[in-house]
């Protein structure tokens, strides 16, 4: 019954999709542009998540400091927060009149909203917890004595990190990055709020689905299915390559 609960909406999409027009819809300019932009945005978002998330995960897993529980809660927040709220929060912080955004605008004439960068930031924020949680869990599962052994064998901190910790963490990092990437690929609310919706600049695949549904709701199901297919491919690949020991 649980499986049916998940499968039913998917079956609905399949039943409603106008298959005769599928090729035309998928190969249309706007779809291809959205596809390319989605891959770009989600890839950059996953990279940003890794860059910011791995050091944070390391600190959370290895350093005891006051407020660690609070920081960990804060990190998980984007996971449970409605994406639209994340978008509003980003506007309040980095928007043209936001706390930091106003200063960026004044000092550098830099405006984030309505840019591809904003789409990357919004999707990165929403998918960030997945990287941190996966990497932190991975760090905790590493036998600390292996790292100590490496030090005894003469490894510097950097060599230890590069040659022992990161390789041991590899599968978890890959799993976290793939999940974050898939989440970024499907991001809608925060992107729409913070980055807007403009073809070629901020219109990612989910936003293209939304815009197409205004004029061609049945055609939009084809695009939606394409999105589902990509997400499904990620999950299946994950299960096969990483989630099985």
């Amino acid at each position: 019954m649980g499986a049916a609960f998940v499968a039913l909406p998917l079956v609905g999409l399949l039943a409603r999709a106008p298959w005769s027009r599928a090729a035309a819809i998928l190969s249309s300019d706007s779809s291809r542009t959205a596809f390319r932009l989605s891959l770009e945005v989600s890839g950059l978002a996953a990279a940003l998540d890794l860059t910011l998330g791995l050091p944070l995960a390391w600190v959370l897993a290895r350093k005891a400091f006051p407020g660690r529980t609070f920081v960990r809660g804060l990190v998980v927040l984007p996971l449970v927060m409605p994406p639209v709220v994340a978008g509003v929060a980003l506007l309040a912080a980095l928007g043209r009149r936001g706390l930091v955004g106003a200063w960026l605008d004044r000092a550098f004439g830099l405006q984030l909203t309505f840019t591809t960068g904003a789409a990357v930031l919004a999707t990165a924020l929403v998918s960030f917890p997945l990287v941190v949680l996966a990497a932190e869990a991975g760090l905790r599962s590493i036998d600390a004595r292996l790292e100590q052994a490496a030090s005894f064998l003469g490894a510097s901190r950097w060599y230890l990190m590069r040659r022992v910790t990161l390789p041991l963490l590899g599968p978890q990092i890959a799993a976290g990055a793939a999940l974050a990437w898939a989440r970024a690929l499907g991001e809608f609310g925060a992107t729409l709020m913070f980055a807007g919706n403009l073809r070629g600049r901020t219109q990612t695949l989910p936003l293209a689905v939304f815009e197409l549904s205004q004029t061609d709701p049945r055609g939009a199901t084809v695009l939606a299915l394409a999105l589902v297919a990509v997400s499904l491919a990620v999950i299946v690949a994950l299960r096969r390559r990483l989630l099985t020991p």
């Binding site: 036998d143 004595r145 292996l146 100590q148 052994a149 490496a150 030090s151 005894f152 064998l153 003469g154 490894a155 510097s156 060599y159 040659r163 022992v164 390789p167 041991l168 590899g170």
Partner: protein, 363 residues
């Protein structure tokens, strides 16, 4: 060549003040209960912890300001701790690479080291695909690849089962015998210490409480821990087959009957046998029953520990028995009086030199 250690260190809730020496012609065992500061000493020797004061001197050179990667120290860890994501060859090359050696040279030297340990054919294998014995050889090769002048064995056998322990001990004693430098064994296992080391240094609560040969300890243990340490009856000698199928161990101090290990050849030299004091029964009269080993001798010492007493007997061989205080009073045992001691042949754990063993051994 020698090692001189004299260090002090103060941490929250713990202080260490340890001084001991080790010379090149002996293996020193650093023994102590958990939390006694053994692993801190290991870290200090390896250079990962800097003592508050004092020195570590190897071959007359002070190591205090030498960083870990430049110290001529090789460590063999409990559980070996081979890196699971690296091949056997990469594991062995790791210390060289960590010290900045070029890849090609490091791999060539690692391959040579593996060959010396008879592991040339397993260079590409991951640790999880190695047998226990193969993993031990790879770990030893990794420890020795930097040609250290101080070899540190950190609880090398304590997580192994009895049979594997005996096999590894054989490999270790060979390694120790041929190693051209100072050898220090860190352990909390008295059997391991007494079979591998020539001299014991006992560390308790961060202090060295006693140092000396096992015989020194047996004659005059200075702390309860040390007494317990040598409380194990350990015999060494030649194993012969008896006509009835049992075995006889001819040790320096006397002979005892043991169960014949199926793998043993007749006779076998250099056999070790261990007997727990609690397995030795004491009697006023010559006991009747199934016990094959019955000895008569004077009670040299009765040491009371809680509700139990350790009784040292001047039998041949000398024995230590552990009995309840109730037995002491019921049998009227007293120092200087004579008593009978008995134990069954199967209570004696026999350790064969070729790496097989029988019986149960509680270390």
């Amino acid at each position: 060549m020698s090692l001189r250690v004299d260090v002090a260190l103060q941490r929250e809730g713990f202080s260490l003040e340890a001084a001991f020496d080790a010379s090149v012609d002996e293996t020193v065992a650093l023994l102590g209960p958990n939390g006694s500061g053994k692993s801190t000493v290991v870290s200090i020797l390896a250079g990962l912890i800097r003592p508050d004061s004092g020195h570590v001197e190897l071959d007359g050179i002070r190591l205090d300001d030498v960083p870990p990667e430049e110290r001529p120290v090789g460590v063999l860890f409990q559980d070996l701790l081979l890196f699971p994501h690296l091949s056997a060859l990469e594991n062995v090359a790791f210390p060289l690479r960590a010290r900045g050696a070029a890849k090609v040279g490091a791999r060539r030297r690692a391959a040579e080291a593996l060959e010396r340990f008879g592991m040339a054919g397993r260079a590409g294998a991951r640790p999880r695909d190695l047998s226990g014995g193969e993993a031990q050889r790879v770990a030893l090769a990794r420890t020795l690849i930097t040609e250290p002048r101080l070899l540190l064995l950190d609880e090398p056998t304590s997580s192994l089962d009895v049979a594997a322990r005996a096999r590894f001990r054989r490999l270790l004693s060979e390694t120790l015998r041929t190693f051209p430098g100072v050898r220090v064994l860190v352990s909390h296992d008295p059997v391991e210490a007494m079979t591998l080391a020539d001299r014991l240094v006992v560390l308790e609560d961060g202090r060295v409480t006693q140092a000396g040969t096992p015989e020194d300890f047996r004659r005059a243990p200075r702390t309860p821990y040390a007494a317990e340490l040598v409380g194990v009856n350990l015999f060494a000698g030649r194993l012969e087959r008896l006509p009835d199928g049992a075995g006889r161990l001819v040790a320096a101090g006397g002979e005892l009957t043991v169960a014949w290990p199926p793998q043993a050849s007749d006779p076998t030299e250099d056999v070790l046998a261990v007997l727990r004091p609690a397995d030795v029964s004491l009697h006023r009269e010559c006991p009747e029953g199934s016990a094959r080993n019955v000895f008569h001798g004077r009670i040299e010492e009765i040491a009371v520990e809680g509700t139990r007493a350790r009784v040292r007997l001047g039998t041949h061989p000398a024995l230590v028995a552990e009995v309840t205080l109730g037995s002491v009073s019921r049998l009227g045992l007293a120092e200087g009086t004579a008593a009978w001691a008995s134990f069954k042949a199967v209570e004696v754990a026999v350790l064969l030199p070729q790496g097989t063993s029988t019986g149960t051994l509680v270390g």
